[in-house]
Amino acid sequence: MGYYTNKIPFISKPNLYDIDAKAFFTATGITDLTIKNAINQLVLDLKSTSLWSKIKVLYPFVGGTSFTHKFNLIDTTQFQISWYGGVTHDSGGITGNGTTGYGDTNFNPSTELTYNNTCISTYIRNNVASSGYDIGSFNGTSQRFIHTPRTPTNTASSQQYNTTIGGGRLDKTSITDSRGHHILNKKTNSHRMLIDDSLVASNTGNGGSLPTYNIFVGAISSAGTATSYSSRNIAFATISESLTTTNETDLYNAVNLFQITLGRNV
């Protein structure tokens, strides 16, 4: 014998988005489905490859405004970027003007990272040879955490954490294109530079120490003052612990798919 009830059966909706992706959408106010799906897939990819827990800050630069571009996907309440000067914000990400524009991540490498356990990655969409650095900070010659993908004489340089080549600095000469996904990965006795998942330079030297000033994007911090303004179009940036070689490939694959989904891959 059956019975009647006035309870409405509960039909659960499938969880469309990861909880951290949802937090990002709430913070930024982004409603565009292409962007939401790209962010969600990025989060899922980073979590399934164990990269998520290694990344301290991740700026996806989506939404096209100074507001949406300030948020850190890993934790939207921390390390929001403070923007200064002439930065163009659009669907391609952020582009400094090479004279006054930059962002302060409010991320201090000396307190948030550990020595010989660091990695920078950026995704650059234009080919510019200039004196501008895209990300980093330094206190002098031996407290550095900076990267440029292409100087006026066609050198890419990762300085973690010194100006001495092979002793905390890794250079690659004959660079003809600043575009692509750049990974600068530093651990004890290993400094690796990858462009689009290809190892272009490496050395085994150590030296220097982590700087004590916040990391800037679109320029670098020289003891708290912006310098070396970049005019490159930055469409993604991370600062993380050092990565395994498998991590490096996984990060490239996740970022590449992310940019393809957004239609801004180079």
Binding site: T88, S131, S228
Partner: protein
């Protein structure tokens, strides 16, 4: 040639605390003996300071170097 807007010392001190939009502050920079802001900052500024839109233009002197 890059052109930028010339500031007086007083204008520089005033603008460094002013927002261009809700999330971006002006960034007066010292270049070749002058305080300047970029044309992008003036274009993006949506505030009420009319004099910002009337600042004179001068040439920006690029300081090229290879590596720091």
């Amino acid at each position: 040639m890059i052109e930028v807007h010339l500031l007086t010392e007083e204008q520089k001190d005033f603008l460094k605390d002013i927002y261009i939009d809700d999330n971006t502050k002006f960034n007066p920079v010292f270049n070749n003996g002058n305080w300047i802001i970029s044309q992008e900052e003036v274009t993006q500024y949506n505030g009420e300071l009319e004099w910002v839109k009337e600042l004179p233009l001068i040439e920006y002197i690029i300081e090229e170097f290879d590596l720091l």
